[in-house]
Amino acid sequence: MAQVDTALSDQGRKMLDSVLDALIPASTDGRIPGAGASGVGSAVVSGLSEHSSADLDRAVAYVIAAADADPGARAEALEHSDPLAFEALLRTVYMAYYSRPEIRALFGLSPLPTQPEGYKVSPQPAEMLAELAAPVRRRGPFYREC
């Protein structure tokens, strides 16, 4: 994939980004950027090491080949003409986009690896759980004796 990256023209890169924005658009309030605007294109063309494939190569080559096309229509055309290539592109985009720390943070996740800090979960007083489970206890045992 690195060969595609170095060979990518400004126009090709622009087209790729616009198709990526069609796959994952920005939120209407602009709070969450689309995939192209967030810089996922670099990850796509440089490949995600073990996830890159000939299918992905084909998908990138296809979307950058028609600079004037409507990005959504271009993505849809690829989805119909070469489903394997499209699926590889889609999976790669989803992986690259949602592994970005700033995107994770927008969904409330830690931008950092979740271990060792983890997440705070509200404490669960024993009394609260006892009250919640009380109706179940009141009905008594219901397993089959055998």
Binding site: S122, P123, A133
Partner: protein, 538 residues
């Protein structure tokens, strides 16, 4: 070729092999365990890496066909809607399991007597109860005592927080008057035995770098290695050898880390390779005495493969459910529909387990164990902004009944990196399971709506493909040598010094995650071995 003879040779360092070894410690027998995978360290676990989620789709996938690591063997599952998943390392699949820890019910051991299907087990709940308890202590189980779905028992540690998601769903079950209970989990709710409490990171499948999840490398193997039991990583067993004169197992041939084939001799061989690996090894161990595979005079080796077919139904609520916080699979479960009710149109039953939606990436790719990316375009935005944060799911865990045509055989062409024939899965759902799933999805919808969901999605989808965690039944236990592979204490009917202790000896599957029962059964078998030492091979 070594002529060194050990007393007990265990193949597989996962849940069952470790428990059996621990049980035999007091005999002072020399125990050696061969494990095809490596020894893992917390630094190896992706949960401490910035791109941790990517590992879920690569080197830390639950699917060996995706991982394709040198220690993995491929599995041909083209003829099955469910593909087996596992992990190969010291600790076995407890490295990447989700640590849900329900016990089987008393009725699960009496299926033929109660419901007229399948077979009764040659052991029962009361016989296993002390070993469930012993194992719960060794693994450090968290849970709430007094679950009315079981005879009384008390998990050693208090329950983990069920969180907002669990509380919301519990209210839904209460509104309908249905059973639910906080899940028993092999995850620490507080610091215990030198291990740290869970921090709700939600990466249970990527190895718990904190050590809160009870993988057996952190529990049993710590005790075992301190006591002198040897585990030899990177050793893949290709065949169990048998003396053609006596019919006894003499040991194994294995591929070592040096790439060479070694012979390890033993007085007793124990297989603990899971419900796919064990029949594969037996079927690969052909000899003049056993032309159809070792211990297979009954023809039952590889047959009666059972999974727990899984589906999921999701409720969309008005408030964020924080599904990425907390252990992936464990908050609460309902066993309201676990037991047979003839009015439902199927026998046996199912559980409804709360499910979290993990991270945005996993959700976008279809969910854990599912390969079905969500839509792209504006529909993607809507799913991620209006559904993902507000989702709480119920996983349908159905009981699979044993059928001889569901089986593990050897693939004619596919092999692992050492040239050993790979397993081939032939498996189909039956009408009973389909009826059960339809019933369960309707009940899940009911409870989600009762819990306040404004919308319910996910009904009618195929069973989850990459979700064959629970592999059972392929070398089943029983008293009749014509219809079973091992006897009531795990000893092969055909080879008197060969034992099997993993999920392959299950007679039926229940509708619960099996690791708790697998280990209780291994401890029970260890106890029986000790009780019968004087005439163990008679």
């Amino acid at each position: 070729m070594s002529e060194d003879v050990v007393d007990v040779l265990i193949v597989g360092a996962g849940a069952s092999g470790a428990a059996l070894a621990w049980s035999l410690l007091e005999t002072r027998m020399r125990i050696l365990c061969l494990e095809q995978g490596p020894r893992m360290h917390d630094r190896d676990f992706p949960s401490r890496q910035p791109d941790y989620e990517l590992a879920r789709y690569g080197a830390f996938s639950c699917d060996p066909n995706v991982r394709q690591l040198p220690q993995d063997y491929p599995i041909n599952a083209e003829d099955s809607p469910i593909t087996p998943v596992n992990f190969n390392a010291v600790g076995g699949s407890t490295i990447n399991y989700l640590a849900h820890w329900p016990r089987m019910h008393p009725s699960d051991f009496r299926v033929r007597s109660l419901d007229g299907v399948a077979d009764d087990w040659p052991v029962d709940y009361a016989m296993l109860a002390p070993f469930y308890e012993m194992n719960d202590r060794n693994m450090g189980i968290s849970g709430l005592a007094g679950n009315p779905a079981y005879p009384d028992y008390s998990p050693p540690l208090p329950p983990i927080p069920i969180g907002k998601l669990g509380q919301t769903l519990a209210n839904g079950f209460n509104a309908l008057g249905w059973h639910w209970w906080p899940s028993d989990v092999a995850i620490l709710s507080r610091d215990h035995d030198g291990r740290a409490a869970c921090v709700n990171a939600g990466t249970c499948d990527l190895g718990c770098a904190r050590g809160a999840k009870a993988s057996v490398d952190l529990t049993y193997w710590q005790m075992l290695e301190r006591a002198g039991v040897e585990v030899r990583p990177g050793c893949r067993v290709r065949e169990v050898e048998v003396d053609p004169k006596t019919g006894f197992a003499t040991g194994v041939l294995y591929h070592g880390p040096d790439g060479q084939v070694h012979r390890q001799r033993a007085e007793m061989v124990v297989l603990a390779c899971n419900g796919v690996g064990t029949p594969r090894l037996l079927l690969n161990s052909r000899s003049t005495l056993f032309p159809d595979g070792l211990a297979n005079r009954s023809g039952q080796v590889g047959r009666n493969l059972m999974f727990h077919p899984l589906t999921g139904v999701t409720g969309i609520f008005d408030e964020p459910m924080e599904g990425f916080k907390g252990p992936m699979a464990c908050a609460i479960l309902s066993q309201q529909f676990y037991e047979t009710d003839p009015d439902r149109g199927f026998v046996r039953g199912y559980g409804l387990h709360s499910g979290r939606h993990t991270t945005p990436m996993t959700y976008a790719l279809g969910g854990y164990g599912i390969d079905d990316p969500i839509p792209w375009g504006q529909a993607h935005r809507e799913r991620m902004d209006e559904m993902y944060p507000f989702s709480a799911g119920l996983t349908v865990v159905t009981e699979d009944l044993p059928r001889p045509e569901n089986r593990v055989t050897l693939d004619e062409t596919l092999t692992d990196s050492d040239g050993i024939p790979a397993p081939c899965i032939t498996y189909a759902l039956d009408d009973n399971t389909r009826a059960m799933i339809a019933h369960a999805e309707d009940r899940a919808e009911e409870v989600l709506l009762a819990a306040g969901a404004r919308r319910v999605v996910g009904k009618g989808r195929p069973v989850w493909r990459r979700a064959g965690w629970h592999q059972m039944g392929t070398a089943r236990m029983g008293r009749d040598p014509e219809r079973s592979v091992v006897n009531e204490w795990g000893r092969s009917h055909d080879v008197k010094n060969l034992f099997i202790v993993d999920g392959s000896i299950f007679v039926t599957a229940g509708a619960v995650n099996p690791t708790s029962t697998i280990q209780a059964l291994a401890l029970y078998i260890g106890d029986r071995i000790k009780a019968n030492l004087a005439n163990l091979f008679d």
